[in-house]
């Protein structure tokens, strides 16, 4: 089954997505005992599922409780959030589909020119944080797309601000374009450091940024901004402090429980001569189906309507391909508009926390 998936990742038209997804579901039902018990509790088995949207999706929170793997794990990735106690764990029997998916779609969306660039990562390297799926992915990215001089600029004690600033100044001095990879919150902190210490550079043309994580872990003064406002504000600061234009900034949307990622269309749009949208939509690879569903019924909402995001990720070949998130978005003709990640929202109601426009009584 993994060979079929890898072939599809390399050649997405090699067979229909639907048939591969249904076969993969049958494979996972047979080989993933925890997933089978989940399906059985719903009365669903492969013979009763005719459409991709009917494959039972496992809520991301269930990864905290169940060992959802089709075999002994080659890697165990953990979520960073601890709200409600415990980490989510994505057990991955083989890293090959994850690597193939990550590199192919990163290359398409962030490096469509096929270049290699000096790559500076504001993240902890994978050898120091083996449980981080992001670190693992960034390690692959540096290995594939990084030029000499690439490196890591964060450790368990935070971002190495001085060293990173020096690397950026060196790139500007020598006219070397760079690729900056960062967790959004770490980037925001580094920008604050630069702003307070008067560091500002003009990175050469071709430089670009990929950030991920949104508001998670970010320190924001005053009211919590919307995801869109946070991202827009961050990119304005990137342009001001690093000289990377906003249309060279790409936000990644991914999660530990998935092996595939989505990226803003910005760089790809520019590369292909289109005007980037505002806000940019997120592009999913052909092996990842994104559906917005009604959380009450779990059925897809009408096109363009907001719903809870459900992913069918063929690159999750060794765990579960259908994952239900708590994130909100809508599917538009050009891609996904991510509207919010309410699990990280603050309390705003009379003990009801998330009921919209509700409050104390």
């Amino acid at each position: 089954m993994q060979e079929r998936v890898l072939k599809f990742l390399a050649l997405p038209g090699s067979e229909p997505f639907e048939s591969l997804a249904l076969d993969l579901f049958a494979y996972q039902y047979a080989n993933n005992p925890a997933y089978r018990s989940w399906c059985d509790s719903l009365g669903v088995a492969p013979g009763r599922v005719a459409a991709v949207d009917d494959i039972p999706a496992v809520p991301a929170q269930a990864f905290r409780e169940l060992d959802l793997a089709c075999g002994p794990p080659a890697a165990e990735f953990r979520t960073s959030g601890t709200s409600g106690g415990g980490h989510g764990r994505h057990l991955v029997p083989s890293l090959e589909p994850y690597r193939a998916s990550a590199l192919a779609w990163f290359g398409r969306c962030v490096m469509p020119e096929g270049w290699k660039l000096r790559t500076l990562a504001l993240a902890v390297p994978p050898e120091k944080r083996p449980s981080s799926s992001l670190s693992r992915m960034l390690g692959w990215v540096i290995g594939e797309f990084g030029e000499p001089g690439s490196g890591w600029f964060a450790g368990e004690d935070g971002v190495a601000n001085d060293r990173l600033a020096e690397a950026l100044l060196d790139a500007a001095r020598t006219g070397t374009p760079v690729l900056v990879l960062a967790a959004s919150a770490a980037l925001a902190r580094f920008l604050s450091y630069c702003e307070s210490s008067g560091v500002a550079v003009r990175l050469p043309g071709g430089s670009r940024l990929m950030d991920t994580g949104g508001l998670k872990g970010a320190v924001v003064p005053g009211p919590v901004p919307s995801l869109r406002d946070f991202q827009a504000g961050l990119y304005r600061r990137v342009t001001s402090v690093l000289g990377i234009p906003e249309d060279r900034c790409v936000n990644e949307y991914g999660m530990t429980e998935l092996s595939s990622q989505l990226y803003d269309s910005t760089v790809l749009d520019r590369h292909e001569g289109r005007e980037p949208g505002s806000p940019p939509l997120k592009l999913a690879p052909p092996w990842l189906r994104v559906t917005a569903v009604d959380p009450a019924t779990l059925r897809p909402v009408a096109p363009g309507e907001a719903g809870v995001l459900r992913f069918t990720d063929l690159a999750n070949a060794g765990s579960v391909l259908a994952v239900l998130t708590e994130d909100i978005g809508r599917i538009l003709p050009g891609g996904l508009e991510l509207l919010g990640r309410p699990a990280a929202a603050e309390a705003r109601g009379c003990g009801l926390d998330l009921a919209p426009r509700m409050a104390a009584g």
């Binding site: 926390d353 998330l354 426009r357």
Partner: protein, 471 residues
């Protein structure tokens, strides 16, 4: 401008009510499930005009005798409590339409009953001593005299999770001769205007002292205009809304915040017995599902004490069955996308825990979100708490409850209790000062007395200004 449920010229149902002489608003119309709402276009000038006229109306109210004012307040409540009250009917319909909570689930009755006429008088007498100080300088022992009056104008920002949460504050303010400007919640577009109209019909001086003006929360220009005239701001709302207002309240304006809170239940081992527990469970489920589980008095978690005839895990199964029946009587509303998403995730985790043999029991209607009951021996109820879900947690002894309450950082403010009186007294003693402000039997949690010190104090203590003369 006198209040009418329907405007005279074929217009809509007015969401606003201004005192005589206030600026005329531009209005817009909006359809709401068959109701046509007539809403003012709020501007700083309009807000300022309404606030100024309300403040100016205070002298007429000050001139009224306390008996007269309290009688009018009581009559207004009684009018709404009467069977077939058209204003209450309209308010309930509009709340249901705007909030998405079915009428059966959000009855106004339990929130009005504590304000029966005699109860208002008893409350004010309990809070203001001597009561005559509201009419003029009243003698106190020792030869001094005291006078009590409220602020010149109170702005009440209402919330939409439950209807009428603003009512006790409004009654208290009027009793202390403070005119009120109410900002209605989106989910309760007509309730405040209709009740203000009822008051105005009962006593002309109240017509000059109660105004209702809707505006978009966070409209800083309109809010600055009303705060410029206000002596007090009472804000019901979520963290962000309350914090936003708090930053902008002028120092001379008293600020009373009613932010997010929630309730819990405690069942002692003595009540965990067949026959006895079923009655408690029914009342508990009703408390949890009334007002769609959105209220600050909606229990989210119930602590079940071990050592009874029924162990907590057995009681949980009883509760799961009872919840199903009560959920049919109190059907679900619309939780909103974000809350539903988080609820779906939490219920998914609970189901995963039950599949993995962690002692979790989850009762829910198939894959739906209409209600759920969860029992977990280890996992605490998360924040945000899932929609219409009652979460049971076993405790070795109810003496553990105060620590669990404190762990919630003061947000847990009300408890329903089932058990012997001495144990309730012991629990209450250990909770004093913890932020818990109400302990009531199951079934009465959602209908608190007027004297409940919501927020830890009464509106009289927070707002009433005293003057004392010595000889």
């Amino acid at each position: 401008m006198r209040a009418r449920p329907r405007a005279p010229d074929g217009g809509g149902l007015r969401t606003f009510l201004f005192p005589e002489g206030s600026a005329e608003p531009e209005v817009a119309f909006r359809e709401l499930n068959g109701l046509t709402l007539e809403e003012p276009v709020p501007t700083p000038g309009l807000a300022s005009s309404v606030a100024r006229h309300l403040a100016a109306g205070r002298s007429a109210l000050v001139a009224e005798r306390t008996d007269t004012v309290l009688r009018a307040l009581g009559e207004a409540v009684a009018e709404w409590l009467a069977v077939g009250s058209p204003d209450r009917d309209l308010a309930e319909r509009s709340f249901s339409a705007a909030s998405g909570v079915p009428r059966a689930t959000a009855p106004f009755g339990p929130l009005l009953e504590p304000a029966m006429p005699g109860a208002i008088r008893d409350w004010v007498r309990e809070e203001v001593m001597p009561l005559e100080a509201l009419d003029g300088f009243a003698p106190r022992p020792g030869g001094c005299a005291v006078r009590a009056l409220g602020p010149r104008l109170a702005v009440i920002v209402a919330a939409g999770n439950v209807p009428l949460a603003w009512l006790p504050v409004l009654l208290a303010c009027l009793a202390m001769r403070t005119p009120c400007l109410v900002k209605p919640a989106t989910e309760d577009p007509l309730g405040p205007a209709l009740f203000a109209a009822t008051l105005a019909r009962r006593l002309p001086s109240l017509a000059a002292c109660v105004g209702v003006l809707p505006w978009r929360g966070g409209d800083e220009e309109v809010e600055a205009a009303v705060l410029a005239e206000a002596g007090a701001l009472i804000a019901f709302g979520g963290d962000a809304a309350v914090r936003s207002l708090a930053r902008r309240v002028p120092p001379e304006v008293r600020f009373v915040a009613r932010g997010p809170r929630f309730a819990a239940g405690v069942v002692s081992r003595e009540s965990l017995a067949p026959g006895r527990f079923e009655r408690v469970a029914g009342a508990m489920a009703r408390d949890a599902l009334l007002y769609d589980g959105r209220g600050c008095l909606s229990p989210r978690v119930v602590f079940l004490e071990k050592g009874g005839i029924l162990e907590p895990s057995e009681a949980a199964r009883v509760l799961g069955g009872v919840m199903e029946g009560v959920a049919r009587e109190l059907p679900a509303g619309r939780p909103g996308l974000e809350w539903a998403a988080v609820t779906r995730g939490t219920l998914g985790r609970l189901k995963a825990r039950s599949l993995s043999g962690k002692g979790t029991f989850l009762a829910a209607p198939g894959e739906g979100l209409e209600w759920a009951f969860a029992f977990d021996p280890e996992l605490p109820v998360p924040e945000p708490a899932p929609y219409r879900t009652l979460w049971a947690t076993p405790v070795r002894d109810i003496a553990e409850v105060p620590a669990l309450v404190r762990a919630r950082g003061g947000r847990l403010h009300a408890l329903a209790f089932a058990g012997p009186d001495p144990r309730r007294a012991a629990l209450a003693a250990s909770l004093a000062g913890s932020g818990v402000t109400l302990i009531a039997p199951f079934g009465r949690l959602q209908s608190p007395p007027l004297s409940w010190p919501n927020g830890g104090s009464s509106p009289f203590a927070e707002l009433l200004g005293w003057t004392r003369t010595e000889r």
